[in-house]
Symmetry: C2
Subunit: 260 residues, 2 copies
């Protein structure tokens, strides 16, 4: 009835003559952008399909042509966030490596980049590393992007290992440096964990001793413990020098995986 003059309501970003598929893609990203905006403004719990549609000048039911439901919209945002974080981490490593930084310095700049992204996008961080939504189970499509950022740190360790600059936990140091004192001896993880670590190195196709990979998994989780405490307010009125604490902990973790 009245729909003819309404063609331009979508900010006429989609011209009538444009291919349907392209319009679909543009509208899809427009929806995600608006959803991300609301996410940053109010948090995931207050993300409303109707509000997104309203802001986009369309009716709520029309949104279901693009996303089967609210949870699917969230899933899309989650994978996007994983990808954004992974991209940031990769860029940081690339920049640091191009600068000729040491492996430890690369580790630290990747950690810093991750933290900066998290501080800049707290709600997206909460989306991927906070409590999962009600009955939501992350589909397998998210595991790939989720591993991207972790893979960056793993790559640093693998590079260090290839360069012979990695101390492997569980081995009494004897070869390279001065063995008199001060070089910490890190005990290796139990064999069950080492088994998981071995499978992980195979799956990721990376050349890294299992004890290192095991420490890496723990370090990765611990890193996000620090971030979550900071972002979720657990350090409020407790730790003020959060940048310094994070940096300090980051090099401690690097030492834990045998780096430097």
């Amino acid at each position: 009835m009245v729909s003819a003059p309404k063609a331009g309501t979508l900010k006429n970003m989609t011209k009538i003559r444009g291919a349907r598929e392209r319009a679909r893609g543009e509208i899809t990203t427009a929806i995600k952008d608006e959803a991300r905006r609301q996410l940053a403004a109010e948090g995931a719990a207050k993300l409303s399909l109707r509000a997104v549609a309203r802001e986009l000048g369309m009716v709520s039911s029309a949104l279901y042509r693009y996303f089967p439901g609210r949870d699917d919209l969230l899933t899309a945002l989650i994978t996007d966030s994983y990808d954004a974080l992974g991209g940031v981490a990769e860029a940081a490593l690339e920049a640091s490596a191009a600068q000729g930084d040491s492996h430890l310095a690369r580790w630290q700049s990747v950690c810093r980049a991750v933290r900066e992204w998290a501080l800049a996008h707290p709600h997206e961080y909460a989306l991927i590393y906070g409590s999962p939504v009600p009955g939501y189970a992350a589909p397998d499509s998210t595991t790939g992007p989720a591993a991207r950022a972790a893979l960056v740190l793993i790559t640093i360790a693998a590079d260090a290992h290839a360069a012979g600059a990695l101390r492997v936990p569980g081995t009494a140091e004897a070869a390279t440096g001065p063995a008199h004192a001060g070089t910490p001896h890190v005990p290796a993880a139990p064999t069950s964990v080492l088994q998981d670590a071995r499978e992980l190195t195979e799956r990721l196709d990376v050349d890294l001793p299992a004890p290192v990979m095991a420490e890496m998994a723990a370090a990765w989780a611990q890193l996000f413990g620090l971030l979550s405490f900071e972002l979720f307010g657990q350090f409020e009125r407790v730790i003020e020098a959060r940048d310094d604490l994070f940096d300090h902990a980051a090099v401690s973790l690097a030492r834990g995986v045998g780096l430097a």
Copy 2:
């Protein structure tokens, strides 16, 4: 007509008004119990005031006599959860100490107790250590219970320090053990963090060197990084031997704060 009768009632209100007050208390805990049930069943996001009221055989509006709103109910659940976790940690320490365990063994059994509570009450864990609800800001009333569990680990470190069994980060070990090799030298945190740590020891009135307290803050956060990764599914299809990884990481963290 102003406040004449109020003077008397305010004085001994808990004694005189017995039945009403007690009924109120019972209904309040009944509401919280039912809310906790729904929390465990469906998650915080699906916690519905109306459903709680329905299950309790009352009308939704009646619930507002006991809690000003949904968020206040959540707040009550949060403080309860903090208290439960704190109680579990304290009980674990007490049992371990009574058993004559070493400081490191006490640390480990407290860590295990925390993890077991978290695994048994994942939704309550998510409530206190997951992403915060929309615009919700934890009131100051939660900081006390929140610190309880952390204080248990701090106490262990303080006891070890009093017994002279604590290695302080930043100091080159020389006194007790064989100094030839293997005793790790942990660098101290930057001074800004040490300053925060010093204030923290004063506020908590505990005798602990600032470097240790700084490592303690980091270790506390990192511990929950491991827990969150496990509970929020980040270790799914990555690490299967999660018990062993946690135990291994727990003693690593203990070493980080100078314990054993």
